[in-house]
């Protein structure tokens, strides 16, 4: 694996290998000594054009636990803010000897552009409304840990699918791994082209093994996607009553950060069905596995 740009690039075998390695990495995370010498002498640059402390520290922890050197390059207060182009930044990183660049960027496809301009590996940590492949991998890992499998599961991805990189990556990856994915939300926010679609959350709940809630941003109200936050939560928010309509074994996921009260109520977020905290923990293991596969060989 040279780059990790899209969850759609992973075959079922490749994705399963990542999850298997992540399981080994997770075992390391449970030990007193959490560090591995694997990537000694390798340099990983975290190139973040968006504020995302959660994702950045997750990648930073992953790289450090594999003994890589980590350089954090945040766009704020740097040459980027002074107008440096992505291409010039790429050359700078190249000159620093970056073996891998983890990039978070507001423009869809920016990691693809970067991959043309650096020799090292590029890892997409979220690009615009395109993809967030490591989030999908950690979600798949979480589902597999909780449910024992992914193949054959019925997964509902609920919310602002149109603007969600998490939804795109998950739809691709979970389908590759054999799940039946349904995208759920109001028609203005759920495009037809990405997979099976439903506008009726209540009808779907009794037949769902996994419900993945997406963050719905307040600004969607301003461009006529939604009439109001209240109407959205009434139709598509996951509350206690809806939680009880799920099968006994079903789990509730959310990539965070949550809008409590909007797409999910505190009762649901804090219930034992919720995997939200595990998702964060699993993020480090999955990212360790990805970094190993990108940098652990010739």
């Amino acid at each position: 694996m040279k780059h990790l740009l899209s969850a759609g690039d992973l075959t079922a075998a490749a994705a399963t290998e990542i999850l298997d390695i992540a399981a080994e990495m997770a075992a390391v995370q449970g030990r007193e000594i959490k560090k591995l010498p694997t990537l000694r002498g390798r340099t990983v640059v975290n190139l973040f054009y968006e504020d995302s402390t959660r994702t950045r520290i997750s990648f930073e922890a992953a790289a450090k636990r594999l003994s890589a050197d980590v350089i954090n390059f945040s766009a704020k207060g740097s040459s980027v803010e002074k107008g440096e182009s992505l291409k010039d930044t790429a050359w700078t990183l190249q000159a620093m000897g970056a073996d891998a660049v983890v990039i978070r960027h507001p423009a869809s496809g920016a990691p693809y552009r970067l991959a043309n301009w650096v020799n090292g590996s590029v890892l997409n940590a979220g690009d615009g409304t395109h993809e967030h492949p490591t989030q999908a991998l950690l979600d798949a890992y979480t589902i597999r840990s909780r449910m024992g499998r992914i193949d054959g599961l019925r997964v509902a991805i609920v919310g602002d699918v149109l603007h969600s990189r998490v939804a795109r990556s998950n739809a691709l990856l979970l389908k590759t791994l054999g799940a039946k994915v349904t995208l759920v939300g109001p028609p203005t926010l759920v495009p037809q082209e990405l997979g099976d679609v439903s506008y009726d959350l209540d009808a779907l709940l009794p037949d769902s093994d996994v419900v993945m809630m997406l963050r719905v941003q307040k600004e969607r109200m301003h461009s006529s996607y939604l009439p109001s936050a209240r109407e959205y939560s009434r139709r598509y928010g996951l509350d206690g009553a809806r939680l009880r309509r799920l099968p006994e074994h079903a789990i509730v996921m959310h990539p965070g950060p949550m809008n409590r009260g909007m797409e999910i109520t505190p009762e649901v977020a804090d219930s034992p069905r919720s995997t939200i905290v595990e998702q964060v923990t699993n993020g480090v293991s999955v990212r360790m596995a990805c970094l190993y596969l990108l940098l652990g060989g010739k």
């Binding site: 080994e24 075992a27 000594i33 591995l36 010498p37 694997t38 010739k298």
Partner: protein, 178 residues
């Protein structure tokens, strides 16, 4: 001229494993506090067989673990990315115990170097020993085995191929040259 000759038959392999089991019992005062750690991949079935033999001889049930050393290798950059195997801590852990690392072939010693690092990240054993089915020489590090099934003098160009029933369907050790 390419060749492949059998240096240990299936019966030989079983005899050698029996002998190592006896030696472990002798050298460790009846396998007190012993933990067997098989190195992935063929060290793991060997460790299980040793535990099984020791159990048969003395009625002792020794803890067995598996140690994958991929993430500790010093030659990762020289090849395409390697598969990562499964590490399994033995029941009761390794702290303060007499850990016997088990592998199929001892060659350069680099695998054992990596295994010592991996083991020390799992905990702090009291004693670490090494048991191998075959020692083929050509050490590159100051490492030696405590229990050797068979010493096989080899040329550097030769390959020692160990087959075990659990993985390969049959027990055999061959010496090959391309």
């Amino acid at each position: 001229m390419p060749y492949a000759k059998t240096v240990l038959t299936d019966a030989d392999v079983q005899r050698v494993v029996d002998r190592i089991a006896h030696q472990i019992l002798e050298k460790t005062q009846g396998a007190q506090d012993v933990v067997l750690m098989g190195i992935v991949s063929r060290g793991v079935p060997l460790a299980r067989r040793l535990a099984e033999r020791i159990s048969a001889f003395e009625g002792l049930s020794l803890p067995v673990g598996a140690l994958d050393i991929t993430l500790y290798r010093d030659d990762l950059r020289q090849q395409a990315v390697r598969k990562v195997g499964h590490t399994e801590e033995p029941p009761g852990g390794v702290d303060g115990r007499r850990v016997i690392l088990v592998d199929d072939v001892l060659f350069s010693g680099r695998t054992i170097r990596a295994a010592l690092d991996a083991l020390s990240d799992l905990g702090r054993p009291g004693v670490v020993q090494l048991a191998v089915l075959v020692d083929r020489g050509h050490r590159q590090l100051p490492i030696r085995a405590d229990y050797v099934g068979k010493n096989i003098p080899t040329a550097l160009t030769e390959k020692v191929r160990v087959k075990l029933a659990e993985i390969d369907g049959t027990d055999e050790v061959q010496l090959e040259a391309a």
